[in-house]
């Protein structure tokens, strides 16, 4: 009961995965993992390669359904919803590999993402870049992600760090309440990492954020809750201090030397 009261003060649960399992033939990629994302907090998932982190994100975002278990978004059961419908309901995700549209400008990348919230495909006589709703959202998202200066640049010509920022900007452009970020810091330099962490710190206020990341320093700095996965199973979950001191985590993941 105490734990429950404590959680309530932390913000409402926006996304909940309940006992999610994913099997690929005989292989169990994720085994009965439950996870809760609350508004105003960053929930990091760490684990070695192949621990099932990306599979977890894919089940939450709806890329494929769980073999068993369920997903709840903003209080409704969305297990059977296709990915696009979940996205429109307020679930944004970024990918581990860059999935920007390299031939479009930075602005058009964000604008196209923002268009998802006001698609109106039948109004074919209207120019897409004249829709103020979309362009304003796109501009704001790019600005939050720190891409103000490069709006007209072709996305494929950005630096690696800027591409990662764009990936997040496109995610923000749809105005999601839940953000699933798959390794947003991958391949970033120290300065870029710092900027991205600051951005995540700002975004935390209005969003529930799931962060899959390999950069342990960053994870322990920014996360409110950390879940540790090994071979598809959740072996520990708690605040950073408790994870740092957990003996199971030390042996299983951080290595025996610690």
């Amino acid at each position: 009961m105490d734990a429950h009261d404590k959680h309530r003060s932390e913000g409402e649960i926006l996304l909940r995965g309940v006992e999610m399992t994913r099997r690929w033939g005989g292989l169990v990629a994720v085994d009965k993992v439950s996870i809760e994302l609350r508004r105003g907090s960053v929930h990091a998932v760490i684990g070695t390669n192949g621990a099932g982190k990306s599979t977890l994100i894919n089940m939450l975002s709806g890329e494929f359904p769980p073999s068993s278990g369920s997903v709840e978004l903003l209080g409704s059961d969305v297990t059977a919803w296709p990915q696009a419908r979940r996205a429109r309901a307020g679930l944004g995700r970024s990918y581990q590999r860059n999935t920007i549209y390299p031939g479009f400008t930075v602005f058009e990348n964000c604008r196209l993402a923002a268009q998802a919230t006001a698609q109106r495909p039948w109004r074919f006589w209207e120019r897409a870049d004249r829709c103020e709703v979309n362009t304003a959202a796109a501009r704001q998202a790019a600005s939050r992600a720190g891409l103000d200066g490069v709006l007209d640049r072709q996305a494929g010509l950005l630096s690696h760090g800027q591409k990662r920022q764009l990936e997040v900007a496109m995610c923000l452009a749809t105005g999601p309440q839940v953000l699933l970020l798959d390794e947003p810091l991958a391949g970033m330099g120290a300065e870029e990492t710092e900027r991205m962490l600051q951005l995540l710190g700002v975004l935390r206020a209005g969003h529930a954020i799931l962060l899959v990341e390999h950069d342990m320093d960053a994870v322990f700095r920014i996360a409110d809750t950390i879940t540790v996965m090994v071979n598809g199973c959740k072996i520990a979950s708690g605040d950073p201090e408790c994870i740092r001191n957990s003996p199971e985590v030390r042996t299983a993941y951080l290595g025996e030397g610690h």
Partner: protein, 341 residues
């Protein structure tokens, strides 16, 4: 704010494209005044091919869907025009044209609904299979009038205004359709619908993750494309006054793909240029005046030319000016560098 207002004044690139296409349409409009019957017939045929090529460009270059069965929709439009025309009186354009277009669109809706569940090579094969199905419905059956095809007894009219039996009226009407289709697709490309299709072409998975249900978008594109191909089929049937199963053959579907690749994928102009280049090359290699008895082997010359064109111009004929410019400036700078140094 700059990029928001970008659309208000046209950038030079858009302007030169508009000049090219506008100029081409003006040339086509005045062409009959300077040409004989053969020329009018040939250019009329090219314009109809250009309309189908544009419809295919919407799928291949616009959405990233390689359809290998476009001839089926063309054929359905053509057969609908011939089969539905009454024997004794000319049909009115007002109902015959929309009906032919609708018939093709409905078949496209059906084919699209099933084939769009597959991807890549499978999609190519499934669209081909559906086109072959349509082909064998008209090939050597009473419905299609056998291999010889069927004749259109009376060409449709629009009251007293337009009689498509007159070659110049037919030419003008075809040109009008071509301009309308081009304008429609150009507007579509810039709309939210068109931008979503472009996003699907580049990365469909990301579009889904962003919140776009991509299947209805692709199905809409497929149906619109089929409808436009049906319009071209109608024009073919009315222009020639008959239709035979060859209009639905996979050779034609393949030739249409070659046209848009030759012209340059991803550009509406490419479909126009490709249709002209393909048909004119075909006429050239078929000409007995030039090649003598060797003209029988026109496939060889046409094939080799297309291979050469695609190898030398990977972006198609649309990329030719850019290619020349960079070669030229490269050659110039190569010559001037030593003197400057």
């Amino acid at each position: 704010m700059d990029s928001l207002r970008q659309g208000d004044d046209m950038n030079p690139d858009d302007k030169s494209k508009l000049t090219f296409v506008g100029g081409l349409f003006v040339l086509l409009a005045v062409f009959p005044m300077f040409s004989g019957q053969y020329g009018i017939d040939l250019v009329g045929k090219i314009m109809v091919f250009a309309i189908v090529a544009l419809s295919l460009e919407l799928l291949v270059g616009g959405t990233g869907l390689v359809c290998f069965g476009q001839a089926a929709f063309l054929g359905i439009g053509a057969y609908a025009a011939v089969k539905l025309s009454p024997e004794a009186d000319p049909a009115s354009l007002l109902w015959l044209l929309p009906t032919a277009v609708l018939a093709a669109a409905l078949y496209a809706l059906f084919v699209g609904a099933l084939s769009l569940r597959t991807k890549g090579v499978y999609f190519i094969m499934v669209t081909l299979a559906f086109a072959q199905m349509a082909y064998f419905v008209v090939h050597d059956t009473p419905l299609g009038g056998g291999t010889d095809g069927i004749y259109l007894a009376m060409k449709p009219v629009l009251g007293d205004v337009l009689d498509l039996d007159r070659p110049t009226a037919m030419y003008g009407f075809t040109l009008g359709c071509l301009v309308a289709v081009f304008a429609f697709l150009a507007v579509l490309q810039r709309s939210r619908f068109g931008r979503a299709l472009a996003g699907i072409r580049v990365n469909e998975q990301r579009m889904k993750a962003t919140g776009f249900s991509t299947y209805p978008y692709k199905l809409a594109a497929f149906t619109i494309s089929g409808a436009i191909a049906g319009l071209a089929g109608f024009l073919f049937a009315v222009k020639d006054g008959f239709v035979n199963p060859e209009i639905m053959s996979w050779h034609l579907s393949g030739a249409l793909l070659v046209m848009i690749i030759l012209g340059g994928l991803g550009h509406l102009r490419g479909a126009l240029i490709g249709a002209f280049a393909y048909v004119l090359l075909q006429e050239f290699f078929k000409s007995e005046a030039i090649w003598g008895p060797f003209a029988r082997h026109w496939h060889l010359g046409l094939g080799l030319t297309i291979i050469a064109a695609v190898a030398l111009l990977p972006r198609g004929l649309v990329g030719l000016p850019g290619e020349l410019r960079s070669r030229l400036s490269g050659a110039l700078s190569g010559r001037t560098t030593p003197t400057e140094a």
